[in-house]
Point group: D2
Chain length 436, copies 4
């Protein structure tokens, strides 16, 4: 079966690349992946999957960091103009741009889920002859949005895997769920799909990422981990303005509160149980030089080697922000803009996946337990499956990069797509043919 999968992956290689380029060209950022998601839905439907979308796969309450309504609306309209199918969009209104294709193979067997993330970055793509997407004509036409993290590739891989599994369906048992998730950037989207319950019945959860620390074609880590748990917060301070010369004493200084919070947030004690992180990435406040500043915002994130450490950081951060507001008698409003749990691949499943990868003969270096180093909201799917007694494995698939992730010249070697397709389809097919 692996031989056949390898052959199909090669047969569809050009399609996969074209799909990737189409998606790259119409890059859509978090919660606005209207066109992208409608393409995924269409692809899944064409391959014979039962397709769920929008509110069917997303819990609205659990969505984080969603743009405001007018912005969503304008992106929805742009998507239609760029070829999105309005029928699918109906379900996705309000940014609910998640999609899932399900195929039941009619024989007893495990449920295997694969997750692919879909959003582009808030990034202006390089306009430069040395940047292939630009000179090959598939650079983003949506200003300020660019696929700088390879999610365009992930989607294309997912849709080709869908096609291959559908072709193999006679030989497969159990059920497969192909999950296309919005808003991975800022770790905003996975939680809302997990909370909806779509992986509650899953036995094996698979995910993958191109590049990251593996920068050579042929490298693969089948059991990556070390995802840092994280929480993203916006803190808005509201004080009272007054003239800084005439009556400074009647002002309530939001910037003083915010600056005090900023300093003390960074001063949260290191954690003895493992790595922790805190960053206030953005601070803004005030309206005029001679006015006691009555507004300020902090955009921050905490991280932890474990969800427990991150929770500790998060709680301390909230306490510090509230205390700083109290000090200067200003109002405080806190909003959670994103979050991810910590997670690691299961060794057993990782081992099994590695065996399949070896058998495929497309990889020449197998890296054990490669550490992602950052955060990934795939962790929510993994944790839920693991809590229910299932297993999860996250793969990093090596490729040369033109520039680092999230940079304006980011690009990968498209030869990786075929390898990733074979790997993902191969592992899934194997899991769905084994006696459960």
């Amino acid at each position: 079966m692996l031989a056949r999968i390898k052959e199909l992956a090669l047969r569809y290689e050009e399609d996969t690349i074209n799909m990737r380029r189409d998606i790259h060209k119409y890059a859509e950022t978090a919660w606005t992946e209207y066109r992208t998601a409608s393409m995924a839905a269409k692809g899944l439907a064409e391959s014979g999957y039962q397709v769920f979308a929008g509110c069917e796969v997303i819990d609205e309450e659990a969505m984080m960091g969603v743009p405001d309504a007018p912005e969503l609306k304008s992106h929805e309209e742009r998507a239609v103009a760029q070829g999105a199918d309005p029928l699918w969009l109906e379900k996705m209104t309000g940014g609910k741009t998640g999609v899932m294709g399900v195929m039941d193979f009619g024989k007893p067997g495990p449920t295997v889920a694969l997750r692919f993330d879909m959003d582009a970055n808030d990034l202006a793509e390089a306009e430069d002859e040395n940047h292939r997407p630009y000179n090959a004509g598939f650079a983003s036409v949506n200003k300020g949005a660019m696929h700088g993290c390879g999610h365009d590739g992930h989607i294309a891989i997912g849709l080709t895997v869908a096609k291959i599994l559908a072709l193999l369906k006679e030989d497969l048992a159990g059920k497969v769920k192909l999950i296309f998730q919005p808003a991975e950037e800022g770790v905003r989207g996975a939680k809302a799909m997990m909370v909806k319950g779509i992986v509650d019945d899953v036995d094996y959860m698979l995910g993958l990422h191109l590049g990251t620390s593996l920068r050579r074609l042929g490298q693969i880590s089948c059991d990556a981990g070390g995802f840092l748990a994280t929480t993203k917060l916006d803190a808005n301070f509201t004080g009272k303005p007054s003239h800084a010369g005439l009556a400074p004493e009647i002002g309530k200084n939001a910037l003083l509160a915010a600056a005090t919070a900023l300093l003390n947030l960074h001063a949260i004690a290191r954690h003895g149980q493992g790595a922790s992180r805190i960053n206030v990435g953005i601070m803004q406040g005030g309206t005029g030089r001679n006015v006691i500043p009555a507004n300020a915002v902090l955009k921050l994130e905490t991280r932890g080697a474990s969800s427990k450490i991150n929770d500790d950081m998060h709680q301390k951060a909230v306490r510090i922000i509230k205390g700083a507001a109290l000090m200067h008698d200003v109002q405080i409003s806190l909003k959670q803009m994103g979050s991810a749990a910590s997670a690691d691949s299961d060794s057993a499943l990782g081992e099994q996946a590695r065996g399949i990868a070896e058998e495929l003969g497309l990889f020449d270096e197998f890296v054990s337990r490669e550490d992602l180093g950052g955060s990934e909201d795939m962790a929510y799917f993994m944790s839920r499956v693991q809590e229910n007694g299932g297993q999860a494995a996250y793969a990093i698939i090596g490729t040369e990069l033109a520039a680092g992730h999230h940079e304006s010249r980011f690009d990968f070697d498209e030869a990786v797509l075929c390898r990733a397709v074979a790997y993902a389809a191969g592992v899934t097919a194997k899991l769905l043919t084994e006696k459960d």
Copy 2:
């Protein structure tokens, strides 16, 4: 002579009001008063004054808080489109929008200077039927610029005073200098005209403001003072970005430096010799939640009851900002965006002016030594004249206001214009007829 002046002020009342409305409609902010200044130049020339403009009255080095070149250019073009005389504009290129009209009366006598400020505020004017400029059709057509501090009135007063003094020239001795100053908001413009030397020969320096703390028609203070010395600073911190999860230690955190500076700036010790002020009105920094912030800006001001106190505050502020930058190994660039000296009216001249105001019979309440409470860069002209042995007097002329200064519904009772014209022309004429 005062009777004649009063009569002329009344005769030109409608002209004065119309002039004010025209200027209000084409509001121009600091250093972009191209149309306004060209109107002033034209008016002065028509009244027979020798007119100096641009680099003739402004020292380019001493200009503070000037917009960048493209912005200046676009305002210049707008001014032409709105009727500015391109000939005058030639001299004013680069924001040098100052104008001075000089008339020598050919007989021995003192030199008297009057100063009128010309700039509008960075303010969106109210669009509301209850706001007279709006319903009477003279609201600002320049978005984001509004005469919210009465400088439109000041200019109109100045040009009518010019007309009246020209009509009286047979009876006058000495010399008069009518100074139309750009960029009073943010105290950015006076210093550059003072440094140019245009008041170095002045014996009597007069200035005025409508409203401020006197909110009733008929009130006047002829010897206002208590101007706080002030310095406006922008501090730009430049650090080094890095990924907040992977390598926070290689970042150089500009926001930490700026927040530390902000706190310590406010903590500068109070001054035992008189009032001092410090305010960081605006702080901004950072580019992304998960990036160690590599840039930050503070916009601040210091003030002091005396220039000495303000200098002490200013020096301490600079030291604190530099120390905060050093702490976090970030670069710091400081730019002075405005400044004003402390100043008080001379009692003798104030007394004399009050006598004239009483004689005019247009005022019913004389307030002694009213305190401006804020800063005014007129102080530079006053100080220079006083240092040279001359005298200065600053008048506040009462009027009801529709809303406070710098508010989007600001408006004054136009009946004050005629009174102010009579007062300013009256005092000047009296000084120019006395034996010196």
Copy 3:
């Protein structure tokens, strides 16, 4: 009568000086003036006054900044060893070292109160041949306590005034109250006597101070004022220790809270209505370099040109301290260690007193409304009397000083004592002979 008073002041000059030197030698600091107060009580009783002491003149609840019981006890024992009368001490247990002598002259007339403060400073007296108290053998024998603010002189003046008024009693009407107050340093004592009600019936309230800004014999200001209202606070933070290497995250860092409070306290906005002050004079915390610090204390004071301004500062300070404690999840305990109101002399009474001073012929320079520049808890007595419709006047009596107040070589010209006695007795006697 003034002539007789002047003559008596001279007759008792040597006694006054000896009294001053005796008190200087046995210097006692705030709330431990056991020997000093018993001497005052004895002197008043010998002159025929009805003497009230301890709980009769002090409200225990309103005492601020009282040393702890063992320290009080040891000072009490020292006082007995140094000659204090144990009978008087019985009433004063617990630091209630206030004394008041009352004499009713049996004829209708006003009630006049004089206040003298009694405490020494926490100061090690200079041991140096150039320091007169040392070479003349009356330097403090109580280590760490020194009369460095002239209160030794004040007491001696008070007791001689008591003698003189008693000798004049046939000629006087109304009632006199001679108040000997403990704990003026740190403004801790007056409030407790005021709250007890001892000046509730007073028509004229008089106080005095030697030196301060008047540094020449012959100078006097009879209507001093500008006392800054003030509040003295101790803030104790209690967190939780933990090993800084092994488990920093379980500590609750009291020093971080205290340092944050300190910075923000100094950053309280200046007050537009008049002078304000804030100082954290002492900060201490922590037990070991490698232990998360679990304790910290701040000793601070606020001041204001008016009680209203000081109240505003005080409230903001409390809020900041509480917010800082909340930020780091540490407990906070606040204790008021002293306070004084703002106060000014009444012009009418000051004028009258000045007339008497002139008539005495002992002064050659009369300074009007000299500003004390600091705080004095005499303000509580003055405010209470003024609230009840009475008048108050505070005199500063000039003398050369060997060194500034609160310095280890402080000393004054003892010739000032006789002048001060004549002034205080003279003004009092005059008030008690006038038709009320």
Copy 4:
């Protein structure tokens, strides 16, 4: 040979215990181990070692955190009174309380060094019948000094090991160096001995500690590691006092500088390469509530999982402290009070030592690579030997504890001493009999 060593360890068990108790009773803290060191010197000499002491084994320049001269003097006198041999003390003047015994076995072989630390803690020992040292009469008679970290045991072990190796000398080859180091607490002493060069010729470096994380008799880790590199700093800020009411502006506020430093020190970014720590354990400053504080001290430490990380923390800390001083125009004096490198045991030597421990039959649980979790200046000896191509191994030897390290009721099971003697003598003897 191991059997004989085991037998000797048992034979001397009572002596070892008595030695430990004697040292416990006369506890001496860092750099004042005059009596302790003279006992060690005497013991080594009696066993036939060549003894080096004081300046022969310590580089004076490299001593850190040494008490001042009067304190050293008084401890030296106390040591003599408590039985120290004055002859040895001569060499140790100025706190140079290190000792080394060397025995050359006259046959070619490796050089093996063992290090034992000698100092007690700044700790008041519990006076309580449940505390064995107290009820058995060997509690510390030196107030404020207590062996709360087991170094008393270490010394006793070292001297018995010395005896045993001397008895076995016929069978040994190479050279042994027994190092008795002062001032391990605060990591102040090892560097000065290392810099002196005493381990420059060493092939195998051995060290041990009782207890720490192994809390059961029978446990041992022969290859402990994970020592955190650390630096201990004192920062003294010196400003300028002034009266907080009259002239706050002329003060230079050392507490503001120190508090700013404290906050920013804790805010140093976490390190992406491994654990880092920062703690300001103590902060003190100011002299009076109403005086701008002119002095402040911070006592702090940095740590890092590697020396490189600690160096980064240390450099950033110094920069922050200097910047904070600059901000408030105060002087700063920094003093390094202690430091340690990071270190790990060599696997090969650890393995070998474990084999010997197993063979001895005195241990029943072998813990691999136990992490010390804190800092140990033994790391300096280990690093130097490793840099020179030698090997190092640090053992943790398990024992029940009455209370944790550095607590006033700390005590260990003395049965561990005999086991530790056998282990240390056994490993050393084996290394000295092997063909090199």
